[in-house]
């Protein structure tokens, strides 16, 4: 039977298991939106800005492991998606972005709201399509979802001319895709596995650094078995957080620019580094020549182009991380590494992560710690970008995979609220906490309305310090405290929330933290906590930009007393 392009699109989305999409309509999308009610299986969530749609699809995808879907109209709608698509591209998030386009005859004529969105997104998509024929649409959707979710995931864009939506064609959903130029590595090469096993068996001070690839592959159990068998300590990248239980005896937290002192010391001293599903981002390597200086490196990754890109490796293994770890666990010897682990524990004592004295001041570290205690580590934590993001990474203790959702590669301020929205829609039974900064939050604050209209119960904790805190911290440490363009005013967030019909309270004292969190948790629906935190608190430890990881700086003792004096005045 013949169907319209819009019907074919809806049928194809349903065939791919899509039950929710985040979108914003517009002129050229009217045929699609006109058709959408015929398919009640697809829940459409209307965002307030298209960037929110892309981040929501991103948060949904990270929380569920499924492909996130967002939609925007041609021209400005499509360009508003761009930041969200780039964010998903850099963090390897499976996403399908659907954009409206002017009718085919007008393409290339600078028609109203026409923009070459497939051209604009060329370097930030895994692949893209301009669907010029309703008859080809089903095949395009099939391919797009397959490409988005398989191998190293990423965003795929489909541009949809208006008249393709109204054209009629036979609808047959293809049962397989044929992409001769697209290879998905599976198992690692046996020779490489053997070479790696030999290095692992011989190592005295081995270390695992795990990244988001472990989460994408669903390889947390395999990682745990592997690490436990040979008793190898595990550190993670920022995006690797939650891939290995942080309360595990072998867990030593996050490495890199704001990583723990002990993780960075472990990197400095290990004789073998097993890098799993990570890509040696400069935020984790620090000065690259001084990265893991005494170690041989085994690099396990899905993407052959990541091998040797930033750091030379001794044994590359290209394949699915889970499959490789599973195979490797079978061929390595049982080991204990008692002295090495004792050494790491010693470093952990010397460089505790919660290195702040007890104080009456309202400190973000305390808030996040209390949030962990109150939620028993069972929440999905979503962040914006900045200091609060690092504090969340450092002080919440993550037990379950995919419970930490944050913008890593692109570092997109404003990611938090819409991503939290997407995560909550994807995991309605989980408690979703947004930890945000006053700067980040203001970038996408409009999505509060979406929370209300679609009844999405995100709990919001704003670390409000009146600064663009991370930039201010760099000005403090490296630009002689020249605070230019970083003091930022904000509205009364509680009143803003109230205007959106969201309950909220302001918190100014340390003893109010826990009751406030409890109140938010017990409240039915979204809730906003505006924490008026210490304005000039810095994130420590910190590896100065361009320095080696081992040169991390810790909280200067005199700074401790400075704010303590202030807070006790």
């Amino acid at each position: 039977m013949k169907k319209t392009g819009a019907q074919i699109l809806c049928e194809s989305l349903i065939a791919e298991g899509v039950d929710v999409m985040f979108g914003f309509p517009g002129g050229v999308l009217l045929p699609f939106y006109d058709t959408l009610p015929q398919y009640p299986q697809i829940r459409h969530i209307l965002v307030r800005h298209e960037q929110g749609a892309a981040h929501a699809a991103d948060g949904y995808a990270r929380a569920t492991g499924k492909v996130g879907v967002c939609m925007a109209t041609s021209g400005p709608g499509a360009t508003n998606l761009v930041t969200g698509i780039a964010n998903a591209y850099l963090d390897s998030v499976p996403m399908v972005a659907l954009t409206g386009q002017v009718v085919r005859a007008q393409i290339g004529k600078d028609a109203f709201q026409e923009i070459d969105i497939s051209g604009i997104t060329l370097p930030i998509t895994k692949h893209s399509y301009v669907a010029m024929d309703a008859g080809a649409l089903a095949g395009i959707v099939k391919e797009a979802f397959y490409i988005a979710r398989s191998g190293r995931p990423g965003p795929v864009l489909i541009d949809l001319p208006k008249d393709v939506m109204t054209d009629q064609a036979e609808y047959v959903y293809p049962d397989k895709v044929e992409l001769p130029g697209y290879k998905v590595p599976t198992h690692g090469h046996p020779t490489q596995l053997k070479s790696a096993a030999k290095l692992i068996n011989e190592a005295k001070q081995p270390l695992i650094i795990a990244g988001r690839g472990v989460l994408i592959s669903g390889a947390s159990p395999q990682l745990k078995d592997f690490a436990e068998k040979a008793q190898i300590p595990v550190i993670t990248t920022l995006l690797g957080i939650s891939c290995f239980p942080e309360d595990h005896v072998l867990s030593y937290g996050m490495a890199g620019m704001h990583g723990t002192g002990y993780a960075n010391k472990a990197l400095e001293n290990c004789d073998l580094l097993i890098a799993v599903g990570m890509r040696f981002d400069d935020r984790v390597t620090g000065k690259v020549n001084a990265f893991a200086p005494h170690a041989k490196i085994i690099h396990i990754d899905m993407d052959p182009a990541e091998i040797g890109k930033n750091v030379a490796v001794h044994v590359p293994i290209v394949g699915d991380v889970g499959a490789v770890l599973y195979a490797m666990e079978k061929i390595i010897e049982t080991n204990r590494h008692i002295d090495w682990i004792r050494q790491l524990d010693e470093w952990r004592k010397q460089h505790p992560i919660l290195d702040i004295h007890d104080s009456a001041a309202l400190l973000p570290q305390h808030i996040i710690h209390e949030l962990y205690e109150a939620t028993r580590g069972d929440a999905i934590v979503v962040t914006g970008v900045g200091q609060h993001q690092m504090w969340a990474a450092q002080h919440y203790i993550f037990h379950e995979p995919n419970t930490f959702i944050s913008s890593g590669g692109l570092g997109t301020m404003g990611f938090g609220l819409p991503a939290a929205m997407g995560a909550k829609v994807g995991c309605p039974d989980k408690m979703v906490w947004l930890i945000d900064g006053d700067g980040s939050f203001q970038m996408t604050i409009q999505e509060l309305a979406t929370l209300v209209q679609d009844n999405i119960a995100v709990k919001i904790a704003i670390m409000n310090n009146g600064f663009l805190g991370m930039v201010r911290q760099w000005q403090d440490l490296f630009y002689a405290k020249n605070y230019v363009a970083t003091p930022i005013s904000c509205p009364d967030f509680v009143k803003v929330a109230e205007a959106y019909c969201i309950a909220g309270i302001k918190v100014t004292r340390r003893e109010e933290i826990r009751p406030a969190i409890e109140q938010a948790m017990n409240h039915d629906g979204p809730f906003l906590l505006n924490f008026m935190v210490e304005p000039e608190e810095n994130v420590y430890p910190m590896v100065p930009p361009g320095a080696a990881n081992i040169e991390f700086i810790e909280r200067p003792k005199k700074e401790v007393s400075a704010w303590q004096r202030r807070s006790t005045r």
Partner: protein, 180 residues
């Protein structure tokens, strides 16, 4: 690290926008493409792109891997280290008077080039060969006044029985050996 000239051959889908995707990756890495030649391959719906670039082996290898990830690139090979037959075609329009015409014809003859057009005060010469041969002839022709040059850029093929697909397999094996 020293840069060297690399010859890459890509087999790509014959679709709109594919060349854009390929070239865009070179732009991102800051490569200036020396030459690029595109045409049909022996397989229907697949085109063959021959690209020459200067770069360090490591950066060219990185671009090759990134290109290999493009969905529309079926295969891509760096055939630099293979024994190659490489050719380029150039059309050269050179000033020719009755006094110089015979000398130009003589040069064309030496280079086994063809005269493809004759006008009152110019000759158009077609020459095929490797880049050195074309450059050498150009140098000699400069003295007469070169009015226009059109060069195709290099196309290349691995010598012997095997096609580029097999040659790459061989190269990949030796690369894997080196790594091990």
């Amino acid at each position: 690290m020293a840069t060297t000239k690399h010859t890459l051959v890509a087999i790509v889908h014959d679709k709109p926008g594919v060349l854009n995707r390929v070239v865009s990756l070179f732009r991102r890495r800051g490569f200036n493409i020396d030459s690029i030649a595109v045409g049909h391959s022996e397989i229907p719906h697949l085109s063959r792109v021959t690209i020459t670039v200067n770069g360090t082996t490591a950066t060219v290898e990185q671009v090759r891997k990134q290109l290999d990830k493009l969905i529309d690139v079926v295969k891509i090979f760096d055939i630099t280290s293979e024994k190659l037959t490489a050719r380029e075609l150039a059309l050269i329009k050179v000033k020719a008077t009755s006094a110089t015409r015979s000398e130009i014809l003589e040069i064309a003859d030496i280079f086994r080039a063809n005269i493809v057009d004759v006008a009152s005060d110019s000759l158009t010469i077609e020459i095929t060969g490797d880049e050195d041969k074309i450059s050498s002839m150009l140098k000699l022709l400069q003295a007469f006044g070169v009015k226009e040059i059109a060069r195709t850029g290099r196309v290349a093929m691995v010598r012997g029985n095997i096609g580029v697909m097999r040659a790459e397999e061989r190269a990949a094996k030796s690369r894997a050996k080196k790594q091990a």
